[in-house]
């Protein structure tokens, strides 16, 4: 270790000169001695202190504005698992003109406590690696030398960001706890930002003071608001199942430029009112103009409608025409990328192309159609307080027929008419109409996710069960089943696979209905045979009637839940079985007939068994009626499923009569 003896002194002076935060560059004995995080004793590492500043500046040479951002952090590594937090990556945005955020002044040091002494190991800057990830992002990566259990890591850097619209987002929460996270934003008085704190956590403190002359433009001093936001004792962010975008819940400060003042005192709006946005969208050549391309469909219309006269029939015909004639090129977005006419010719386009074409075509068929812009589940929640156009990443059509309206997405294959794909079921969307002011609409799945399995069979004297199984799937289950059949290549290959995966069944014959009639439930009919019993000589037989959809694992097995449980849609699944048994047997015992419900009509489970005329009639119903459950409902969901699992473990007992 002698090698490093000279370093500490050097480093101290160096850090001291640029450190702006008391503490930074120095380590207290208290920080060094911390054995575990007080916020979460299980954390592998912890941010002991994090400090960022961002200020807007004016570049006299280019005449443009930019953000100067400085970041400093001190991380305590508790154990080997925490070593990964000694690997640092700093992401830089690459702009359309090839310009990129500029990273400078990277400094990093590992501080260990050896033989009652602080020993420092500084990062060798030749070990910082730059990598262009893709067109939009570049990353600078480095790792801290000499990490040990108990090391403290400090690093800092400066970043020049040539894009002021979103100022600089600050993440209070990350995958390890933070003792203190502090952000200071110097915002010139001329600039007005909408500032939003996302997530359920609250700031520990925030204040704003005037900072005189924080920026100079053309030799003139401009005053700023110096905003200080602090969050202390921030727990690590942990993603849970059944959750929409993590960015909806992770504590972070977001900025969006709303308006600014020019030096002459005139005001320019950037973020607008809904009225401005409507106007902008309707006027936009990539949006409103594409909604109006009625002419493109004029000649085609008679052949599309094929004689449909009622409005619903017409709407369905147009929807099917567009979804089968323009296929998604995989890109989403609210704008038309290639214009409707070209998309129609090339049979390919993005979401904007396809659904704006759908709106034009619906209008050409004299139907009342509007556009709905929305944010997909992955993209996160929409800010409904003030309009932020860049929040939206998807557009669908809304067609109004009589007093009903239907939401349509022609860019996702295999959707029934009126059912939005799950990725669109995310809070509210904004309806943009050519005729009236815009308004919010709830994005709900119009059909529940539904499956039904009916089995009619007979237990033979040879111990084999033979009969017919019919499965109905609609809503998202129908979509998923159709996708699975498509993926298998053909119906025969799908059934072959099914047969092979269920060794207890043999499928003797099959028939699949409504594969292409997307608005109808998908029906699978199978003639099956299964080995029930190797021998029927036993005086008693146990039979488990839960032949399908058996829940082996509780989907809600954790002890607590922080965020809402978002299933996206209501679900229902039904099971019925009529099984004829040999006359010599009679029913002696059966699973308890269960009828349980979740609070507030949240769901229901029923199971019942009856025996008559040598036939067992069994039925089961499982309903989850709400698309979203509150975190407080988690434990009742867990208990609900637990009771289902218990009843599914019990059997029907058949006994030979007279024994």
């Amino acid at each position: 270790m002698k090698y490093f003896y000279l370093l500490p002194l050097l480093l101290l002076t160096q850090l001291a000169t640029y450190a702006q935060l008391p503490n930074f560059g120095f380590v207290t004995h208290e920080d060094m001695q911390a054995k575990r995080s007080l916020i979460d004793s299980n954390a592998n590492a912890e941010v002991q202190l994090e400090y960022g500043t961002a200020r807007m500046n004016f570049d006299d040479n280019t005449g443009s504005l930019y953000i100067d951002y400085e970041y400093q952090a001190q991380i305590k590594i508790f154990n080997k698992k925490g070593f990964e937090h000694g690997n640092i990556a700093i992401y830089k945005h690459i702009y359309k003109d090839g310009d990129m955020d500029k990273l400078t002044d990277v400094k990093a040091v590992t501080i260990n406590y050896v033989n009652n002494e602080f020993v420092r190991h500084e990062l060798d800057n030749s070990k910082i690696f730059n990598e262009k990830l893709n067109k939009y992002t570049s990353v600078s990566k480095f790792t801290l030398p000499n990490l040990q259990e108990g090391s403290i890591v400090q690093y800092s850097y400066k970043l020049r960001i040539n894009y002021i619209f979103n100022f600089k987002t600050w993440d209070f929460q990350s995958d390890i706890p933070k003792v203190s996270s502090k952000y200071v934003a110097f915002i010139p008085g001329l600039y007005n930002y909408n500032v939003v704190l996302r997530g359920p956590l609250k700031l520990s403190s925030s204040n704003g003071v005037v900072a005189n002359g924080c920026m100079r433009i053309n030799g003139r001093d401009i005053n700023c608001s110096k905003m200080t936001y602090v969050m202390d004792n921030v727990p690590a962010f942990i993603e849970e199942d059944y959750m929409t975008a993590a960015s909806n819940f992770r504590a972070a400060m977001y900025f969006e430029l709303s308006d600014y003042m020019l030096l002459d005192g005139s005001k320019r709006n950037v973020t607008k009112t809904w009225k401005d946005i409507e106007y902008e969208l309707v006027k936009d050549n990539r949006f409103g103009s594409q909604m109006k391309k009625k002419d493109a469909f004029k000649e085609l219309m008679p052949s599309i409608l094929k004689g449909s006269t009622d409005e619903l029939g017409k709407a369905k015909a147009v929807y099917r025409y567009i979804s089968s004639n323009i296929k998604s090129n995989g890109f989403i977005g609210i704008y038309s990328e290639t214009v409707v006419k070209k998309a129609l010719e090339s049979h390919s386009g993005n979401t904007g192309d396809i659904n704006l074409a759908l709106i034009s075509a619906l209008t050409a068929a004299d139907l009342d159609a509007e556009a709905v812009v929305l944010s997909t589940r992955k993209n996160g929640a929409i800010n409904t307080l003030f309009p932020v156009l860049s929040d939206f990443d998807y557009v669908v059509a809304k067609v109004n027929i009589g007093d009903k309206s239907f939401l349509l997405d022609a860019s996702t294959p295999m959707m029934p008419f009126g059912l939005l794909p799950l990725h669109c079921i995310n809070g509210q969307g904004r309806v943009i109409s050519l005729k009236k002011p815009s308004y919010w609409i709830d994005l709900l799945s119009s059909e529940k996710d539904y499956t039904r399995n009916n089995m009619t069979a007979k237990l033979g004297d040879d111990g084999k069960i033979r009969g017919e199984l019919i499965t109905y799937s609609s809503g998202y289950s129908g979509v998923d089943k159709r996708k699975a059949i498509q993926k298998a290549g053909s119906i025969d290959e799908f059934v072959e696979k099914l047969d092979e995966q269920k060794p207890q069944y043999r499928i003797l014959a099959h028939e699949i209905e409504n594969l292409d009639s997307l608005d109808l439930p998908l029906i699978e009919r199978y003639t099956i045979e299964m080995l029930g019993y190797e021998s029927m000589a036993h005086p008693q037989l146990f039979l488990n009637p839960f032949f399908m959809d058996k829940i082996e694992k509780n989907p809600f097995n954790l002890d607590e839940r922080t965020y809402p449980i978002d299933l996206g849609t209501a679900k229902e699944s039904r099971l019925t079985m009529i099984l004829e048994v040999p006359e010599s047997f009679e029913l002696k015992d059966q699973p308890r007939n269960l009828n349980i419900s979740l609070a507030n009509a949240g769901g229901r489970y029923l199971s019942s068994t009856a025996f008559e005329d040598h036939k067992i009639s069994f039925s089961q119903l499982l309903q989850l009626s709400k698309p979203i459950y509150a975190p407080e409902e988690y434990l009742s969901l867990k208990e609900f499923f637990s009771r289902i699992i218990q009843v599914q473990k019990t059997d029907i007992l058949l006994k030979k009569s007279g024994k």
Partner: protein, 635 residues
């Protein structure tokens, strides 16, 4: 925590000037090639022209008909490149089902991204890729690509029929070199003869394959390399990132690797050497010394992937690893070897193809193969193998990542192939004992201990470093029983050459035994139920079991006084060439003792035995779900 860490990417691609205008209409394809296929490789011509060791020009022309959405992946093209490889030319066209041109593709349609995986700090690999977006199937995509390599140590290979879901109409591979160039050529599962033409200008070798149908993917099948056709070529005289050499055997290659890549990277400073000597002061046994120093290395360092220097094949110097306290597999193995050198314990830097599937280096064909480095320490009494990227790995334990395969030891005297230790089904054990009290309401509570050894030692590898609450969360997934609650979980390691991991815990399972009116149902195999294996109407490939194991479970149930036994599953015994299964249930007063022993043998068995195999495996699934039924006394 084991990591692959060499980036020897095999080269895709070829050159050709096709003359006549092709007809890409779908009706030109024979039906046999469409069956089970998601795509058809209609034509592939790869020409590798080794102008000199420093210039290898590869041209590829490929025409692929994509039959449905699942085949899109075969219509996509990805080309890796780095400092020693450049993509000279890419062009292509897309045709519809009738052979009509839809669109043309050029270099600008390709995305250019870093090919560095998330876990890697640095590597200079990049990838150019293109994925066609065509919604009307089938369509045909035609590519022409030219790639230049500034090295010839790793040459393109030919792998027709590589993807089971893509059939091949025609594939041709041509290798050109200067007249008289010394080559070694290895053909795998190739039935024909190559066409060899030697002229004044060059030597030419070419191979063709035609009409390879698509196949169904089959479970428990062997390494595809054992049945797929392939041709690999190695040049005797080579140039690699500015280093020259020649080899025609593993012995020569291993020697070159040692001298060119490793030898000069092993010097440790005098201070460090003293520290190392002090560490083993007083220890006389070499094995104990090695162990002491291995643990020292584990404690001091961590794994960081940094692929720089000679195509990512040269280790960071031992002195730097010491200074930074991190390294990748090469760096850490080289560091460990350098440490052992200080105390005069000889060891060998070994190149291995790591992964769960056992893959040996080909003894008949020396080439730059492998993706990982381990250290072999031959001692007087036995040989110790060291995995250096895992800070928790027991001394001498390789596990399923590198077991039972041929590896190349690179030494000053020359390379040699060595076999890593085998883990047999007798060694790969999971032995579990549990006692569960069942209460009147069906709830279970009790204790459990498990000993894991052999490759099953690693079953809980993920858990060992986790904080306690995280361990409990993961246990819930491992045991996967509704409502289960764990207490007093302890995991301890017995680190030895035959290491074992010991688990002990207390548990409660509310309502484990389900009740219906007067009866109670108890699934006897609480913890270790097996899963089904798909059946198959036709089976073409041999049945392959990569690694065997032995699981033993013994659960003693204490039953409530109020209940009496009404029914219990029969004892079961299965004995097959694939393994065995023994299950017994003994009722003894209020106790019910469930015992299960399941053995799976490793090995290769004929395709015709697949039905017997699935029958064995699925019977086990059935028996594993056996229930005992109890009745309320007096009912």
């Amino acid at each position: 925590m084991r990591k692959y860490c060499l980036s020897l990417f095999t080269i895709l691609c070829s050159l050709s000037s096709l003359t006549a205008q092709e007809n890409y209409a779908i009706d030109q394809l024979p039906a046999t090639l469409k069956s089970r296929a998601t795509a058809v490789l209609r034509q592939e011509e790869t020409t590798v022209d080794m102008k000199s060791p420093e210039l290898v020009i590869t041209t590829v022309k490929k025409a692929i008909t994509v039959l449905n959405k699942n085949g899109d992946v075969h219509g996509a093209l990805s080309i890796y490149y780095d400092k020693s490889r450049s993509v000279q030319r890419i062009k292509g066209s897309i045709y519809n089902a009738f052979g009509g041109l839809i669109s043309k593709i050029s270099m600008s349609n390709f995305s250019d991204e870093s090919a560095v995986s998330n876990g890697t700090l640095y590597a200079d690999n990049r990838i150019k890729s293109f994925s066609p977006v065509v919604q009307d199937y089938p369509y045909t995509i035609v590519y022409e690509v030219e790639i230049r390599d500034k090295q010839n140590l790793i040459l393109p290979t030919w792998n027709p029929g590589e993807y089971p879901d893509m059939s091949t109409l025609q594939s041709k591979f041509t290798f050109l070199c200067q007249p008289g160039t010394k080559l070694r050529i290895r053909e795998y599962n190739f039935k024909g003869k190559p066409e060899v033409i030697k002229t004044e200008k060059n030597d030419s070798y070419s191979w063709t394959a035609a009409n390879i149908p698509a196949r169904k993917a089959e479970s428990f099948s062997p390494d595809p390399d054992t049945y797929n056709t392939a041709v690999r070529i190695a040049a005797e005289q080579f140039s690699f990132y500015g280093k020259k050499g020649s080899y025609s055997s593993w012995e020569e290659l291993g020697k070159w690797e040692y001298h060119a890549l490793i030898k000069d990277r092993q010097l440790l400073g005098a201070e460090v050497q003293n520290e190392i000597r002090t560490l083993v002061n007083g220890i006389t046994d070499d094995r104990q010394k090695t162990r002491r120093l291995y643990e020292y290395m584990q404690k001091r360092t961590r794994y960081i992937s940094v692929q720089i220097g000679i195509g990512g094949n040269q280790p960071i110097s031992a002195a730097e690893v010491h200074r930074m306290a991190y390294g990748d597999c090469k760096g850490l193995v080289n560091y460990m070897q350098s440490i052992l050198n200080v105390v005069n314990i000889p060891s060998m830097y070994c190149v291995v193809t790591a992964g769960n599937m056992k893959k040996s280096l080909d003894p008949d064909f020396a080439s730059m193969d492998g993706n990982h480095i381990i250290l072999c320490v031959p001692l007087k009494t036995d040989t110790i193998w060291l995995e250096c990227t895992d800070q928790n790995s027991p001394f001498g334990h390789l596990g399923s990542f590198t077991d039972d395969r041929l590896v190349l030891a690179c030494t000053a005297g020359g390379g040699k192939l060595l076999r890593t230790p085998v883990l047999t089904h007798e060694m790969n054990q999971q032995i579990r004992h549990s006692t569960l009290q069942i209460s009147k309401d069906g709830s279970a509570s009790g204790t459990l201990t498990t000993r894991f050894s052999g490759d099953q030692y690693d079953n809980y590898g993920e858990l060992i470093q986790e904080p306690y609450t995280e361990q409990l969360k993961k246990l819930k997934e491992i045991y996967n029983i509704d409502n289960i609650i764990f207490k007093d979980f302890k995991l301890s390691q017995e680190k030895d050459v035959q290491p074992s991991m010991l688990e002990s815990l207390k548990l409660e399972i509310p309502n484990y035994a389900a009740k219906a009116s007067t009866r109670m149902y108890l699934i006897l195999n609480a913890y270790n139920r097996s899963n089904t294996v798909p059946e198959a109407n036709t089976r073409t490939l041999p049945v392959y079991i990569n690694r065997g194991f032995t699981d033993e479970d013994e659960i003693t149930y204490e039953l409530p006084e109020e209940m009496e036994l009404e029914f219990m599953p029969e004892n079961r015994t299965l004995k097959t060439q694939f393994g065995s299964y023994d299950m017994t249930v003994i009722a003894k007063g209020r106790q019910l003792i469930y015992k299960r022993k399941r053995v799976l043998n490793s090995g290769t068995f004929p395709a015709s035995s697949y039905e017997e195999f699935t029958s064995f495996m699925n019977k086990v699934v059935d028996y594993d779900r056996g229930k005992a039924v109890f009745k309320l006394k007096g009912s």
